[in-house]
């Protein structure tokens, strides 16, 4: 398959990792250029670099990583000709179908070749993949791609409609993978292509339940057993770091301080009222005083959350100096209520000194790909002694 050498050579297919969302592929062709918003590069710059290198742009702005292709990276970078299979489905199918070194596998259709690359990797040069594609242009593209990736010895690609014309194989394959609109039409052909000297397996990949039901009954009629069905997905998680969560004790303290402030204000108002009674011209002054008080009162309580999150943005160094002083503040506040108004904001945050890592599933995810219907074909029963033993004696047929 792809190069296993340490260093990149001319003619190698390489993966360019621009960002996690932007992964591309390239055949290293000296003389050509690669230009993107991540910089300008000459293909010849890549030759001789070890795989896994970080390469700076010729313009001095931007960089890219050059990776060795794997079927998984190829799935991220490949040119889509059809809807493709992703790692969750591919990996489960490979396991269930018992695909490993030396396995002989059939797939139909080839599509964009996402599954083909994964199978070719797993079976290696001693295995074989027969791949069938009924769309001529897609078959041609896939054949070119397989040749480019050094898979021509492992993969035989045939342009053929397997539902109509079958696989042209008898007792040859260990497993069959059908990604077709009407897999039930290919089930009998698949049975013929599967070998009969060992348990062999089939997987039909269909997005709709109606397809599953027809496939199940076709598999049952053809003598497959252990028919089962799975659905699998990958749930990506976003990882973040948040400060250690604040205790509600601190919130309660804050509220209590608010109460005290209001009480002081109330008492002052009463006192002021008595003053204004004595001095009828003091009305304006009182309103000023009032609005001042309002600001003072609201500041610590209303902005508590903001000041808390402001603290969260502080660097670790700031936090380090913060921790010890916090306790001092709190105790002083308790002793001396007069400092509350000025200190409340500062003493709130119970400074988040430590951070915790958290993760949650990404908000928008793939909810369904396809149903994976699996079945097994067992070697036929030996004919001899069981002939006279009517199989209807088995309890399963009672």
């Amino acid at each position: 398959m792809w190069s296993t050498a340490r260093l990149i050579a001319a003619g190698d297919t390489v993966i360019l990792w621009l960002t996690r969302e932007l992964v591309q592929h390239l055949v290293v062709t000296p003389g050509k250029d690669f230009n993107s918003k991540f910089g300008h590069y000459r293909h010849s710059d890549l030759v001789g670099l070890p795989y896994g290198s970080k390469l700076g742009s010729r313009t001095g702005r931007g960089f890219i990583h050059i990776l060795r292709p794997t079927p998984e990276l190829w799935t991220m970078a490949l040119p889509h000709r059809t809807q493709i299979l992703y790692i969750a489905d591919i990996s489960l199918v490979v396991s269930y179908l018992d695909i490993r070194r030396g396995s002989r596998v059939i797939e139909a259709g080839t599509g964009s070749g996402s599954f083909s690359h994964s199978v070719a990797r797993s079976i290696g040069p001693s295995g074989h993949l027969w791949s069938y594609e009924f769309h001529e242009a897609r078959a041609k593209k896939a054949r070119e791609e397989f040749a480019q990736h050094g898979m021509s010895d492992i993969v035989t690609l045939t342009h053929q409609n397997v539902c109509k014309d079958g696989f042209n194989l008898t007792d040859a394959a260990d497993s069959v993978f059908l990604d077709l609109p009407a897999p039930w039409d290919a089930v009998e052909h698949a049975k013929q292509a599967l070998r009969k000297d060992r348990p062999t397996r089939i997987c039909c990949f269909s997005p709709c339940m109606e397809q599953v039901l027809r496939t199940v009954s076709a598999l049952n009629d053809a003598g497959f057993s252990d028919i089962t069905m799975y659905e699998t997905l990958v749930r990506s998680h976003d990882v973040g770091q948040v400060p250690v969560l604040q205790s509600i004790t601190e919130v309660a303290d804050k509220l209590k301080k608010g109460e005290e402030v209001r009480e002081i204000k109330r008492l002052r108002q009463i006192a002021g009222g008595q003053r204004s009674h004595q001095n009828p011209h003091g009305e304006k002054r009182k309103r000023d005083e009032d609005s001042e008080m309002n600001e003072q009162e609201d500041a610590p309580v209303g902005e508590a959350e903001d000041s808390g999150s402001g603290k969260r943005l502080k660097t670790d160094d700031d936090m380090g100096t913060w921790t010890p002083s916090r306790d001092v503040d709190v105790s002083r506040n308790l002793d001396d209520p007069s400092t509350h108004i000025l200190r409340a904001g500062a003493s709130i945050p119970a400074a988040p000194t430590a951070k915790i890592s958290v993760s949650k599933a990404t908000s928008e995810v793939r909810g369904h790909t396809s149903y994976l219907t699996f079945a097994t074909l067992l070697p036929p029963m030996p004919p001899a002694p069981l002939e006279d033993d009517a199989p209807s004696q088995g309890p399963q047929s009672t």
């Binding site: 896994g52 390469l55 396991s95 057993s225 069905m229 749930r235 998680h237 990882v239 067992l378 309890p395």
Partner: protein, 407 residues
């Protein structure tokens, strides 16, 4: 279109095609559970309630067949097919809970069993005597028969020891011993790590050898696998026993421990270069030779690790994952995959936060696996009612070189 006719190289297999003497194989019992038994030539296999039979009857048989135990002998049965159940108008309208419906007593059933009556006969009698059987829907009748079969039948099926089946067995049996690694997680780990024949891999497997089993199977006896363990002697990796690997398959595996994997450490071993005149007996000589061979193996394995250029690192360990990566990632080649598994998202979130700050780890991602199995029966297809809640979490990153190539 002419038949494709590729040149086919002889097929390699990690296990034998048929059941052999000395295998540890899994049997599916009527209640759906799997049991591991050893098929030693000329021995008997005991399946508890199901009875006993001679192992020789299974030796040489292909996997996946179903047998009935009749008088200590195995009777081969055809594979079970999906029975079409015809729907009727019956409902449970007239069936009440707690009603006395089964006049056949436990003692009578015991007597029947002792008389050697076949399970199908007992079930038939129970159905005949059942007061409300005819009122049941066809689906309900089917379920009733299934339940009785699980109780009385002596039928079992040999399970092909594929990675899928072995993983499923261990997951059901004791999922904590395999660190909650469900088959979908294992499959993704092997694909993400790009395991292939001919590759060179580093692994830390505290999951009873499930990871090692998967890697060995995908390598197919070609390449190299070094594992680092926490024990003095090479680890047992019990899951590999169920895989029934050939010697050739296992030959690619060597192990070091966390002490011998340190470049600065000189393992303390008894002297092996004893002058010839001090060797007193043949026994001593054999012992010395053995010790020397073990030391040589240890030294070459260490050299191999320290020479680096491994293609992937797979970690499923009880130890702090970042300390493992710090130690082993330097031995990976550029563009190598790093895959870390944990039953807990928190542990991998912490690791993710650390890796994100380090330029040698490209694109760290944290994913959780999700799998749903369906019951597929004609007219009765739905997701299974009970299923596993978790199959574990996976962190993947790519090792890249930190030096920056300026042009």
């Amino acid at each position: 279109m002419s038949a494709p006719s590729p040149v086919i190289v002889p097929q390699f297999s990690t296990r034998t095609l048929t059941i052999q003497s000395g295998n540890t194989i899994l049997l599916r019992l009527p209640n759906g559970e799997a049991k591991a038994v050893k098929t030693e030539k000329n021995s008997t296999v005991s399946l508890g309630r199901l009875g006993v039979f001679y192992a020789n009857e299974l030796i040489g048989e292909p996997f996946g067949r179903t047998y009935d135990i009749v008088d200590k002998k195995l009777k081969l049965l055809p594979p079970r097919t999906l029975a079409e159940v015809e729907d009727t108008d019956a409902t449970n309208e007239l069936i009440n809970d707690g009603e006395f419906v089964q006049p056949l007593t436990l003692e009578e059933i015991q007597t029947l069993k002792q008389s050697g009556a076949h399970a199908s006969e007992i079930i038939k009698m129970q159905i005949e005597q059942h007061a409300n059987y005819s009122l049941k829907t066809e689906y309900s009748k089917e379920k009733y028969k299934k339940r009785k079969e699980a109780k009385y039948s002596k039928i079992f099926t040999t399970i092909d020891p594929t990675l899928f089946n072995v993983c499923e067995h261990w997951f059901r049996k004791d999922q904590t011993r395999i660190r909650d690694i469900r088959i979908d997680a294992l499959s993704q780990i092997l694909n993400m790590a790009n395991i292939r024949p001919g590759g060179r891999y580093l692994a830390v497997d505290d999951a009873s050898g499930l990871i090692v089993s998967g890697i060995l199977e995908r390598m197919g006896g070609d390449g190299r696998l070094l594992t680092i363990c926490n024990t003095d002697s090479p680890p047992a990796y019990p899951v590999t026993v169920n895989m029934n690997f050939t010697n050739e398959t296992v030959a690619v595996l060597s192990s070091l421990n966390w002490a011998t994997a340190e470049p600065g450490h000189t393992p303390l071993v008894a002297p092996v270069d004893v002058p010839a005149d001090q060797i007193k007996s043949d026994r001593q000589k054999t012992r010395l030779n053995k010790r020397k061979a073990a030391l040589d193996l240890l030294n070459t394995t260490r050299e191999e690790l320290f020479a680096g250029e491994f293609d992937a690192l797979i970690v499923a360990s009880d130890y702090e994952p970042f300390s493992i990566l710090e130690k082993l990632v330097p031995y990976l080649t550029g563009s190598a995959s790093i895959v870390v598994q944990s039953p807990y998202a928190q542990i991998l979130s912490d690791l993710h936060a650390k890796l994100r700050a380090l330029p040698e780890y490209l694109g760290p991602s944290l994913t959780e696996v999700w799998l749903r199995r369906y019951q597929v029966l004609p007219g009765r297809t739905h997701p299974t009612m009970n299923t596993s809640g978790t199959g574990s979490f996976i962190l993947h990153a790519i090792k890249v070189y930190t030096f920056f190539v300026w042009l």
